[in-house]
């Protein structure tokens, strides 16, 4: 049973077309929600950590928000270089020894 679900699986945007990626989770007692970016053939690269509902973080064209059941990664006026797979992960109360639970990712393609 998936504890972290990301949607959509794939998203194609035209350059400048803003949108949002979703990460919903079913764990209780969230201790942290993490967003990563992964380029093809490379390891995931850390973007943001969110800890509590209502929290927001921004980096360039990306903004991450958190509610009690989901997180959104908003992409404003994306550029082709934003094309990547975006992964969401959570740590919950009782997570064995600090392991994170990952979603399957959203593959974002931004075309010129």
């Amino acid at each position: 049973e998936d504890q972290v679900t990301q949607s959509p699986e794939a998203l194609r945007l035209q350059e400048g077309e803003s949108s949002s990626l979703n990460c919903s989770y079913t764990v209780s007692g969230l201790r942290g929600l993490f967003w990563y970016r992964q380029d093809p053939g490379k390891g995931p690269e850390f973007l943001f950590t969110l800890y509590s509902a209502g929290e927001e973080k921004e980096k360039e064209r990306l903004k991450a928000t958190l509610t009690k059941k989901e997180s959104f990664l908003h992409i404003t006026a994306p550029k082709p270089e934003d094309s990547a797979t975006y992964l969401c992960a959570v740590q919950a109360d009782g997570s064995t020894l600090g392991r994170l639970y990952f979603g399957r990712g959203t593959q974002l393609t931004v075309w010129p």
């Binding site: 950590t49 020894l97 600090g98 392991r99 399957r104």
Partner: protein
């Protein structure tokens, strides 16, 4: 800068071979992880370790073992490689800290092909 280094970017091995994937981190982190990543399946945890010589099974440990003799190094071993172990393997490390939880840091990945 934080660094997690995997010994190989690409490997090609034959069915039945014993395969070693090495991972080294320079951040003095207690926790280290091995994942495999396959299209449509996301990141799946194979094994993790929270201290030297300590290990825990993840979600898909069958066909794999691990070794952690030093804090900075975590090795993944494929006892007898099979074609269904062809995949991208990712190593990660993470500190154990009280208070706020910190992110995991990933290596660049090893693309293993078993023929």
């Amino acid at each position: 800068d934080v660094k997690v280094t995997q010994s190989s970017r690409y490997l090609v091995k034959r069915t039945g071979e014993k395969v070693f994937l090495e991972c080294v981190q320079d951040m003095d982190h207690e926790n280290m992880f091995w994942y495999r990543q396959d299209p449509g399946l996301g990141l799946r945890l194979i094994y993790f370790s929270y201290d030297v010589k300590m290990k825990e099974k993840g979600d898909i440990p069958e066909g794999y073992s691990v070794s952690r003799e030093k804090k900075e190094r975590f090795s993944l071993i494929l006892e007898s490689a099979s074609t269904n172990q062809t995949s991208m393997y990712l190593c990660a490390s993470r500190p154990t800290r009280t208070g706020l939880n910190t992110e995991a840091f990933f290596g660049q990945g090893t693309r293993l092909t078993v023929v």
